[in-house]
């Protein structure tokens, strides 16, 4: 197997006396769709925050395409090609859908501190932003303020913004939380389409989504990765059943 595109080695994170992540090991292969599941309080969100640069690990190594990223600021990590979404919708509420997406596309083109040209004249950026708006199926809402969108539309925008910076590795934090069954099916289809040639790491509670979308699954329990494997392997794993799936069925 070639070097994993994202790799965690013996990562620990403590907040005071609370040891949330205790020696997590994870290897995500390039191009796969990988889910992290686990009971509430297992540390899934913390794990995402460590990888994306929101927090710095207490110890351990995180590597993106072989390069260490633990301790880097979130903006630097994004520039290295890892982009994340948020569990609680985190958009630019008073800007249009198009402009929300365009901010990320600008970053992809390295247009960051440009005061010398008109935003409307950035042809490639505007075309790509428009294309992405269409891909997340918000073309009809292009000029609507993000704050005025329906909840499921905001979730779609959330994914669009995560993809807009052109990152290779995409982290989605509970992308279908709070959605109806129909909206969830729609969102899964969207994710499958959008991450076709990307690497996806997703935290998700809906097991239908996890088993239907992902190539491999890692189970996080009490801050440790208990098992990693294909959906079939995970389903068959006794430890996993005891720690998590059984608990939910009970």
């Amino acid at each position: 197997m070639s070097t994993p595109v994202l790799e965690l080695r013996d990562v620990h994170k403590a907040f005071g006396a609370a040891r949330i992540i205790q020696g997590a090991e994870l290897a995500v292969a390039r191009g796969e769709r990988h889910a992290v599941i686990g009971p509430n309080g297992a540390g899934k969100s913390t794990l995402f925050n460590l990888i994306s640069g929101m927090f710095t690990p207490s110890s351990g190594e995180i590597r993106l395409a072989g390069r260490r990223i633990d301790g880097l600021d979130a903006n630097a990590i994004n520039r290295l090609g890892l982009s994340r979404s948020f569990q609680i919708t985190n958009v630019f509420a008073r800007m249009s859908v198009f402009e929300n997406i365009r901010i990320g596309v600008m970053a992809r083109h390295g247009i960051r501190f440009d005061l010398l040209r008109r935003a409307a004249a950035m042809r490639a950026v505007n075309e790509q932003a428009q294309a992405l708006v269409e891909r997340v199926r918000l073309a009809g809402r292009r000029d609507t303020l993000a704050g005025d969108l329906a909840y499921s539309e905001q979730r779609a925008l959330e994914i669009g913004m995560t993809l807009s910076t052109g990152a290779e590795v995409i982290l989605l934090d509970e992308p279908t939380a709070g959605m109806s069954r129909e909206e969830t099916a729609h969102a899964v289809e969207l994710m499958r389409d959008l991450t076709k040639d990307k690497t996806l790491l997703v935290v998700e509670h809906d097991m239908d989504v996890v088993f239907g979308l992902c190539d491999r699954i890692s189970v996080l329990v009490y801050g440790k990765i208990l098992a990693t494997g294909t959906p079939a392997e995970i389903r068959a794993d006794r430890r996993v059943q005891e720690a998590y799936l059984g608990e939910e069925a009970a």
């Binding site: 903006n75 982009s83 630019f92 901010i103 501190f113």
Partner: protein, 420 residues
């Protein structure tokens, strides 16, 4: 929309260009103050309304611009070959320099902490300046003279006015252009959600610093224009009242509209000019106006105008006309009652009335509005209280009729947006 802008420009620009020569000297001076305040407020609002950073110490950059310009004016007096019309440039450079240093620290924090750091930095200058003779002229301040240049004497207020108008117009144009650039769009994103901007690959500390420095630079130009016009400045330019004034101008004018702060600056500067001669309580009225705007029209004057323009087609103007007229009458009634009470109290607590009271031994009638009023008579106070009560009743009635009309207009507006 384009035609609206053009029309607005002509309506505003034409009087500003044509009228001043026919106005009194006092009013010409007030117009210069108005222009300076307008530029200051728009610069401030770049940081506040667009960048989402509320500075309580913007007097620092305004003041440093004033002093830098005076220093350059002194140098020109001594023979330095800088064209007089370019003097405010020194203010811009000084504002930029101080903005980069102060902004580096202030933009490390957001929200209340940001505001407090800016407040502290301005207070620092305010207390330091009187001690520092060479830099800020000590307690007395600094003064200089405008030197003639290229056939222009710059001796009259009118010349100063037109130079200020040119500078302010140029700066507003640049600030407007700023909003259209990629970084201008990023500034709005910083306001809405700094964290997300960071997670999209931008160094947000650096980005916020740039917004801060640009705002400080244009504030410095405004300060420079003030120094150019007054030919003096002292440490009070760094004071809290200056920092507070720009906040008031911006919020009353409306921070969500580019030209809102200009409206606020114009209204309040002219208000001060006309009302400060009539009453010493004008600052109280300004404060009450601010509170009322925050409570009942947080969008400010500019925001309200913009809201009406945006719903121009959906609003039923015929149905609205009545309640709007009622609301206007209600406002006048409340204002009249309130002003009567305040001004009567001002008379009753004045030293003139103290003399009357001593001579009469008791509470004699007090003179106000050309007649005499009995301070102990219920009638004296019943009239204004009744006016205010009637105003309040009328206002709530009008409000109840206006609200559903607006709800409907908003509904039609969003539906129209969806089908389009």
């Amino acid at each position: 929309m384009r035609r609206h802008h053009l029309l607005l420009l002509v309506l505003v620009a034409l009087p500003l260009l044509v009228l001043p020569p026919f106005l009194s000297l006092g009013l010409q001076n007030t117009l210069v103050s108005m222009l300076v305040a307008a530029l200051f407020a728009v610069s401030f609002n770049l940081l506040m309304g667009q960048g989402g950073m509320l500075s309580f110490g913007h007097a620092a950059f305004f003041g440093i611009g004033a002093f830098a310009t005076l220093h350059l004016m002194l140098a020109v007096e001594d023979g330095l070959g800088v064209p007089t019309p370019l003097l405010p440039l020194a203010g811009g450079l000084a504002g930029l320099g101080l903005g980069l240093v102060a902004g580096y620290f202030a933009t490390m924090r957001a929200g209340v902490y940001f505001s407090l750091v800016t407040l502290a930095l301005a207070e620092l200058l305010h207390t330091l300046a009187p001690q520092w003779d060479g830099m800020f002229g000590g307690e007395a301040g600094m003064s200089s003279m405008r030197m003639p240049w290229g056939g222009l004497v710059f001796g009259s207020v009118l010349e100063v006015y037109y130079l200020s108008l040119a500078w302010v117009a140029l700066c507003l144009l640049l600030l407007w252009a700023y909003t259209r650039t990629p970084f201008g769009r990023l500034t709005l994103a910083l306001r809405d959600n700094e964290q997300r901007v960071r997670f999209m690959g931008y160094d947000t500390h650096k980005a916020r610093l740039v917004v801060f420095a640009v705002s400080a630079m244009f504030s410095g130009v405004a300060g420079g224009l003030l120094a150019f016009s007054n030919e003096v400045a002292n440490y009070t330019t760094f004071g809290m009242p200056v920092s507070a004034q720009v906040v008031l101008h911006t919020f009353i004018g409306g921070s969500t509209v580019f030209l809102g702060p200009v409206v606020g600056a114009a209204v309040l500067t002219l208000f001060a000019f006309f009302v400060s001669d009539l009453t010493r309580s004008w600052l109280l009225y300004q404060g009450v106006l601010f509170v009322l705007v925050m409570l009942y029209a947080p969008l400010g004057i500019g925001g309200i105008v913009e809201l009406h323009l945006r719903h121009m087609r959906e609003l039923r103007w015929r149905a609205l006309a009545g309640p709007y007229l009622g609301a206007a009458v209600a406002g006048l009634l409340i204002a009249a009652g309130f002003v009567f009470v305040i001004e009567s109290l001002a008379v009753l607590f004045s030293s003139d009335y103290a003399v009357l009271r001593r001579d009469a031994g008791g509470l004699p009638p007090f003179p106000f509005l050309g007649t005499e009023w009995q301070p102990l008579s219920p009638l004296t106070w019943l009239a204004p209280l009744l006016a205010m009560a009637a105003g309040g009743w009328l206002a709530s009635r009008a409000g109840r009729r206006i609200a559903p009309l607006w709800d409907e207009a908003r509904r039609v507006h969003t539906q129209g947006g969806e089908t389009a």
